[in-house]
């Protein structure tokens, strides 16, 4: 059974890139353009991993993470955050909110798949 991944980003290019890479690697992918939309999608089914951007309109990544971690349905799902900066502050914020790990843009397809294996049971 293919693993289901939710990709959350306000940039369509970014969503498409993540989505393309993941689908090619055999994952089932759903997309959402912000935190609110993501929570909606999460309400509709079970996911094995969430990959989310931090800067988004309506609901940002940090709030999304906090929401997911304090909810019940996807509390234990690994969350990877997408960051452009390799410096520590964004990572630390995301981590404090309950993110599992991070992915620094730009990323190679191999790196993305490798990280998924590292956090996704």
């Amino acid at each position: 059974m293919a693993k289901r991944i939710l990709a959350v980003d306000d940039s369509k290019t970014m969503r498409d890139m993540v989505s393309f890479t993941l689908k090619k690697a055999g994952f089932e992918v759903a997309e959402a353009e912000d935190g609110k939309a993501a929570l909606n999608v999460l309400g509709g089914g079970k996911f094995d991993l969430i990959i989310t951007d931090l800067n988004m309109p309506n609901m940002d990544g940090i709030s999304l993470i906090k929401n997911v971690r304090s909810g019940s349905s996807h509390r234990a799902v690994p969350i990877l955050i997408l960051t452009t900066e390799s410096d520590g502050t964004k990572k630390a914020d995301g981590k404090a909110a309950g993110a599992t790990g991070w992915l620094v843009k730009p990323f190679s397809p191999d790196k993305l798949i490798e990280l998924i294996q590292r956090v996704c049971p």
Partner: protein, 696 residues
């Protein structure tokens, strides 16, 4: 775009290419092993070169660029070897072996259209490139550099290093969906991994917080990857755990470094230039090489010392304390020192089975590739220590068992899928110390033994008489008989596996036993149990009639004196003991060992509940418990012919010989009422004793 008509033949060519690759990799492997064993000729090198060259050629045609890149460097190094520009030193042959391994992986990845990490085998590539660079400018480098660079290059060529990783998650780590299990798997990808769990933080069940992290781990990783790769595995949890990653010194390296390091202190530049190829460890080493014979002698002497000390202690306990205070204090101090001395000496010769286990993934990988099967190997208990002499003998039987599991056990990927199993088969290799023996298990999730066919074959060959109906376990173990060829019975592949009778002979030669448990369609588990040639055992001293036995403490669950109502005879199984709803078969030592004037009624004696190797618990009936004691195991195999049901002997403080029970064999007697041990205990103890006196 390509039309279907064109795509089909290309697919066909690819298939042919990969079949060819499998053969070439076999050739490569076989010849490299010759080379490594020092048995290679000029032709060996040529064969190696040709194999790599052919793989590279095909790879170019299909556009497998990473395969081309890797085999190109590999090929160049082999060419330099042929031209004798590079010497086939042990380091270089090791490098070639690893390169061949990596090449096989790259071929497999290309076949399954799987991407390998970008830095896959980069250390091997670097090593090969450096070996090549050394060849072209060898003379210049030696005289021009200050000694630092050659050292670095050498370290890179050596490749594999050991790291100790101590990983202690903070309590809240799990709540961010970080899972230690996944980290272990990532570590395992980097190389050979041993796992040691620490449960000391685990609280009592009632107060355990279900989502908090309590377990912590110490890993030993042998890897060619840089230390940064280990850090990367823990990248996401670094702030949520205590993490220690440290390189472990390798003994051999350290030894050769010691003199160099000393010389360096006196005249750094001269020393480095004089011996540029020596490995200089970052810190001066404290280790030395010692001849194993000397250690063996030491081990034996200490064993004698401990026995003498035990006698003294027993005699000393008869002295009145107020009259001989210094004497009694001295005896106590002696006991303490003797124990510490013994532990230290034992630690010198005992080695983790890791050194043998570490070779097995490669056996699996190579054979799996040859057979076109997908198999992974999971090892555990690698840190289990076993005497060095046994470790050296372990490789062959273990390799045979693994090969057998792969060849006859694991099905082809398609067959597995058809049977509803994952494509990839799993072989578990584990070691543990139990009941004073080392138990090594090789289990697979393959097709298991087809008992009907095995039995039919055995009847055919007259191995099982007509009218006799062996138990399932007995049927499974028929495959160990010399006259029994498993090839056409259990699998269709023939001519490859080694007969299990050979394995059994090997194991028996080590004083061990081997058995198999199997479930048709679900897999087989081979259990090999080996004696520790010398060990200290915490034992319960028990008496039966006039004889004394030691029951290894680790095997004992509890002891009790049953009520008559708890003992029930069961047809075909002898007596059983009802214990809290369980029914445990009873074994009477007096009957097993033909001991006279012993207690025959369990309700008058003591029943010791022991855990046997297989699965079951049994009750052992003895007269009484005399106390707990640490005893020095004298191997019976060395001093005297092996005796069923006995794993060794010891000399007690009072000078008496006591036999150490082999709990696992007792169980077999429990299953077969009326079966007797080969010899009465009295005979055995007296002969053992004579023999030991001779030896002393």
């Amino acid at each position: 775009m390509m039309s279907e008509g064109e795509a089909y033949p290309l697919e066909q060519f690819r298939k042919t290419y990969f079949e060819e690759c499998a053969e070439l990799l076999d050739v490569l492997q076989a010849n490299l092993e010759l080379l490594a064993a020092g048995a290679g000729s000029e032709e060996t090198l040529h064969a190696i070169f040709r194999a790599v060259h052919s793989i590279k050629g095909g790879a170019g045609a299909f556009g497998f660029s990473s395969l081309v890149a890797f085999s190109h460097v590999f090929e160049s190094l082999l060419d330099a070897l042929r031209e004798q520009k590079v010497d086939a030193t042990p380091d270089v042959t090791q490098l070639l072996l690893r390169a061949s391994d990596a090449l096989a992986d790259i071929v497999n990845a290309a076949r399954s259209e799987r991407a390998l990490p970008i830095d896959f085998a980069s250390d091997i590539l670097t090593g090969m490139e450096e070996a090549l660079a050394g060849a072209s400018g060898a003379t210049a480098a030696a005289s021009a550099t200050s000694g630092i660079e050659p050292v670095a290059a050498h370290a890179a060529v050596k490749g594999e290093r050991s790291y100790r990783v101590v990983f202690t998650p903070h309590t809240e780590m799990l709540q961010k969906a970080n899972e230690p299990l996944l980290l272990v798997r990532q570590l395992r990808k980097l190389g050979g991994l041993t796992v040691d769990v620490d449960m000391s933080r685990l609280p009592a069940f009632e107060v355990l917080e279900p989502e908090a992290a309590y377990l912590s781990w110490t890993f030993v990783l042998e890897t060619g990857a840089p230390q940064s790769a280990i850090h990367e595995v823990f990248e996401f949890v670094e702030d949520d755990c205590d993490l220690l990653i440290e390189p472990l010194q390798q003994a051999a390296e350290a030894v050769s470094a010691a003199p160099t390091a000393n010389a360096t202190e006196a005249a750094p530049a001269v020393a480095a230039a004089a011996e540029p190829s020596a490995t200089v460890a970052p810190t001066p080493s404290q280790s030395i090489r010692v001849d194993v014979d000397k250690v063996d002698r030491l081990v034996n002497l200490v064993g004698e010392l401990v026995i003498t000390q035990a006698m003294l202690t027993e005699q000393g306990s008869l002295l009145p304390v107020d009259q001989y205070p210094a004497m009694i204090q001295g005896i106590e101090a002696l006991a303490q020192s003797a124990r510490e001395l013994q532990e230290s000496v034992m630690a010198i010769r005992a080695q983790p089975v890791k050194s043998v286990f570490a070779r097995m993934p490669r056996v699996v990988r190579d054979l799996a590739a040859t057979l076109g099967k997908e198999v992974k190997i999971v090892t555990s208990g690698e840190m289990t220590e076993i005497d060095k002499t046994v470790i050296e003998q372990l490789n062959d039987p273990l390799t045979h068992m693994i090969r057998n599991a792969l060849d006859h056990g694991i099905e082809s990927p398609d067959d597995r899928v058809a049977a509803g199993k994952p494509r990839q088969g799993t072989i578990h290799l584990s070691a543990a110390q139990r009941s004073g023996r080392i138990v090594i298990e090789v289990s697979d999730d393959g097709r298991g033994l087809n008992r009907e066919k095995v039995l039919a074959k055995a009847r055919d060959r007259g191995l099982v008489a007509p009218g006799v109906n062996p138990s399932e376990e007995e049927i499974d173990n028929l495959i160990f008989l010399p006259a029994f060829s498993t090839a056409d019975v259990v699998s269709n592949i023939s001519g490859r596996g080694v007969g299990m009778d050979v394995v059994k002979r090997n194991v028996q030669a080590l004083g061990g036993r081997i058995s198999v448990q199997s479930r048709f369609g679900a897999g087989s588990r081979f259990t090999m149990s080996l004696p520790l040639t010398l060990a200290v055992v915490d034992g319960m001293v028990v008496s039966v009639g006039k004889e004394t036995f030691i029951v290894p403490l680790t095997a004992i669950i509890e002891s009790l004196r049953p009520q008559p109502a708890d003992i029930n005879p069961v047809v075909g199984r002898g007596d059983v003991l009802a214990l809290r709803g369980e029914y445990l078969p009873l074994t009477y030592l007096h009957s097993s060992f033909a001991i006279e004037s012993a207690v025959t009624d369990p309700c008058q004696g003591i029943v010791i509940i022991v855990q046997t190797e297989g699965a079951g618990r049994i009750g052992v009936v003895v007269d009484e418990l005399l106390g707990q004691q640490q005893v020095v195991v004298k191997s019976l195999e060395a001093n005297y012919d092996a005796v069923d049901g006995i794993s060794g002997a010891t000399i007690l403080g009072n000078g008496r010989v006591a036999l150490i029970l082999d709990v696992a064999r007792l169980r077999e007697i429990g299953d077969k009422p009326g079966m007797r041990m080969t010899k009465p205990a009295r005979e055995t103890t007296s002969e053992v004793r004579e023999d030991m006196n001779h030896a002393a």
